[in-house]
Symmetry: D3
Subunit: 242 residues, 6 copies
């Protein structure tokens, strides 16, 4: 498969270099700096002994996520959401996606009455921040759960499988894997795919940026996503074994 078309010179089915650095900061129960190329996201997992009001007394826990972007993670400065007085629509959309994705890999009864919050803060952005965030947040979550099992002597591991995510798209007519910013800004279709390590789909969010995409293009993108996520799951596993 040739790749001369991609600005980065990558093959169409090639991920960017991925790095997963655990224990990046010292206070959080899980703390991971994940890089997909130049995209760098700090993912922390925080355990709190409380549940949201609607779960009180039900014997189960909750997993949620918040997403933020440092003002100068981007090529021009983005106004700080705290200074603007609230989170925008894009931020809410992304953090809801991260939260749903990570809840899909946790048995909330086994977790017990606790909240785990995954904070995903983009230190540097170059496309694919939400998929990097999901991929890194899983590792932070696994570290936090591991700590919890050590401390609390849980009977069962609440994690039921790994979760990872990648973007795929149609760039200048070619289905490609893991779009960087240059591709993302100029593609016809952008699709974020979240899957588990059993090959099941957790989220599929595809958007036609230019013209509508055909069914065969969708099939090609899904195949790329399946390949990329299999690689990401292997990288997560390797990181957790270190």
């Amino acid at each position: 498969m040739t790749s001369t078309i991609r600005p980065s010179g990558r093959a169409s089915d090639q991920l960017r270099p991925v790095a997963i650095e655990r224990h990046y900061t010292r206070h959080a129960e899980g703390s991971v700096l994940v890089s997909f190329g130049d995209t760098r996201v700090l993912c922390t997992a925080s355990i709190e002994d409380r549940v949201p009001p609607w779960l009180r007394g039900k014997g189960e826990g909750w997993v949620t996520a918040e997403y933020g972007m440092l003002p100068r993670a981007t090529s021009t400065r983005t106004q700080r959401e705290a200074a603007r007085g609230g989170q925008g629509g894009r931020t809410m959309e992304i953090q809801r996606l991260i939260g749903r994705s990570l809840r899909a890999c946790v048995n909330r009864q086994a977790l017990g009455e606790r909240v785990i919050t995954l904070d995903c803060d983009v230190i540097q952005a170059d496309g694919g921040t939400r998929t990097a965030a999901i991929t890194g947040a899983y590792v932070a979550l696994a570290d936090a759960i591991h700590l919890l099992m050590q401390r609390e002597n849980l009977k069962r591991n609440p994690i039921v499988g790994a979760v990872a995510a990648v973007s795929v798209g149609i760039y200048k007519g070619l289905p490609v894997l893991d779009l960087d910013y240059a591709e993302d800004a100029d593609c016809d279709t952008d699709m974020n795919v979240v899957m588990n390590d059993g090959g099941g789909f957790i989220e599929v969010q595809g958007t036609a940026e230019g013209h509508a995409f055909r069914r065969d293009e969708m099939d090609a993108m899904l195949a790329l996503a399946e390949k990329g996520i299999a690689e990401l799951v292997a990288l997560q596993r390797a990181a957790l074994e270190r």
Copy 2:
């Protein structure tokens, strides 16, 4: 195809009764009350002779959407977002989806320096409010553009195709079309699909609510969506010809 499994008794590939009532209110350039069964959404299209700051002087227009739910559209009262001090994450996610979907059917150069705002307000909710909103908003948009062409003598019709949307899902193991609230609250997977009248995909948003979905389930859901949207496009066309 048997359908005993669905609470409504519908066949798995059967839409709810759909009604599209044009000119529902008198002030808006386009005003449509759309019903998908008991789900009723008022969609208005408003034309304004201004553009957002980032489009000034570029000679093109903008199409955007806002979504709201009357407090008692739901079975228990939902707090009014205006009283709560802002729009929540779900609202923002939905109105961003509606806006992107409708922009996909408009040539913004041909529209000229104008904004068309599609307000989609849910009068009564029974599942599928966002897909009903997109389907109705297209008709309101078409009416508004028609009026604009009459008034302003535009050279080209800015509409490049029809857009409609439907939800599909896996309910008790069965792929089904156009979920109502009883199904939505109890399904394993929920997917919203937006397509144009040429059979192209504009948005695909699938979420595993229970277990992850397999590739073959995804294929079945996409096939149902293609069938349902073809019917919805025909109903839009019939409504516009009345």
Copy 3:
């Protein structure tokens, strides 16, 4: 009494055609679409088994109201209050008026520890939205209370009388009843009057828009209001008997 002066051709003491449609939506305990001519307001009554903090343990209930206007209920689009980040002064003033008016017809001890919220949402505006809202909200409230008495076997009916409202004003020197938008935008004085079915005044809010009004003008306006409200109370009664 001639009426050639009014844009609608109505006599000076003539209401617009009034329609009261019960059970307009299906979820609310009371749901009424009220029309005063082209002004259409959806009024729902929602019962909740809670009381505000300041009434806890006092054995009495509360009746409150919220008011909203769909963005394109008006001839030019009004910005959505939820998107603007809060309710404006006009909205607050109106919903406080509706709430006080409806509380005046309820015995809060007989209601017991419950909140009834009257949501009045303007679908289409042509003047007099607050008086239509009060008139319709009373019918929605009566339906909700009726349901509550059936369900809960209350000992006493908490409703102590009917409430209705109408606007009166001085238009081009002539005292007139039930101003529509064309009159409202061009009148010297505008007064909203809320009364009960015993002929007692609950609220009188008069504002000189142009020059100050004389005592004899006030007397003429109050007489028109008394006549109009007697007709509205009869229409409410007829609707509730259907």
Copy 4:
């Protein structure tokens, strides 16, 4: 007329002692501390050489008002609105009333393209803060306009008449003038009346707190208001001549 019924021992048609102190602070163009008994309100008038956006280029000015209550103006501490994140419904309702009342005495063409803001801040509250505010704000406005005429050599005086306000009500069955807090908290009806020095009505806002009020009660209240406002206008005039 006996008065044994009123907590203060006042006759039913007797105002509290009223004081109007001009030039209370030194920066504002008009600055008046007005007292109605123990109710004390600081009213300042500020002139700015700008107009609101909707009046640009129309050659006329604007008069507006803002109202606030110091946290401990009341017998128990009221939360500061700035700390709570915005003005409440009562504040908005009152400042809209003050603004409308004062606009009624100004010729906005003669004022020219300027804004006069009347800030009414309650230093100590004992009932009737909004009527004291209107009465004091008129004097502050008159001082500011006087200064403006001296400075700018205006051709015409923009003030077309004086404005004052008083509350009236039904207290234990008796129509009374100028309610203090003890009466206000325990009355059946409370009505705020704003009039000009020609005996014309500018605003009438009556609310039945307990049972609805009859037409003859309304007439009695209006007569008391006419008497009280005539006295207040004389006091304003005397203060301005000092």
Copy 5:
């Protein structure tokens, strides 16, 4: 020491005339109008039988402060923070300083589970509002605590010492005491100093407005502050003995 350099003609180590008027309003447990020359601040102390959430059940109380400026306390009108939707950075900085300063003179165990809120509202500003506020708030606090001891028969007086504050600065090269607005707007360095009656420092906040200040300048400013605060403490004592 000559003083020809100061706009007011004061000696470099001379305070403005200071007045401390107790019982300025009648509702608050402590109510003081303090004047430092033309700067006038109303300081009220309010006692509430509650504690903030983080102190529940700890048997100790809290002292906090809020600061506000009436819109026309200043030479041009300042927008009302309640209307702007929240307190700005300067307000928060000042009220945090006042709160810390007053907490430094209270034994919170001896206070018991109560909150005392010091509301400092600037009626007229001419420089030094925060130091006047602290100096006046101490007297209001002393009055409130005195009342509390009378009412509640506390075993110990929770006040452990007096607190006062003054500004010092470098104005045209000369160290000066108690800057007024004309000096403040044109000085090189501005320092606010809070001390107790034992000569101990509670807060020192110095800012170089123009060039950085030298150590010897700092020493001169601290000496001026010590002198001024000794005088202020004597004035507080005299006021409390009246």
Copy 6:
């Protein structure tokens, strides 16, 4: 000087290990990760070709700062300010301090009509985040200005001197330099000192946390600050020469 008293074992006049890593992220004109022991702050400098409204047309620029803390920079999770709806008082106080400090080292005429924003985001907190932020922000600012001079061919270097900051305090009776969190949480006095490379003071903010501090304690703290800042200025210079 012995140091057995400090939890870290440091001498009383000893800084924590300080690291200054330039070019930490790639988009910002200046990007520095500064560490004071376990405290790590990312400081970016962003240049924008605009000025705030109050500086338009004056030919000078502006330097401002914003401060944030990642939710899990702290030992327990802190709520995200963007999610809470705004910046708190502590954040505003700190970012105002950083802004004033950095403006003190820039000639705003020489900068020209530009804004430089210093974003200081705490990745990990262990006391002294504001002093680390100022020290790092200076280096980021210097890098940004250097780039600007290269790009724009400025006539003069707008930087007039270096700026650094350190905290000092009284810990268990001993004056100490550069408090870490364990000391900060348990000290009697905490003082933040900002100085330039000429030994001038830019800001001094001292707070008695326990008992008031004496003049001789203040002198000892200032001496420690002078020593520490001289070392920090040398480290800044070395980093900029790399």
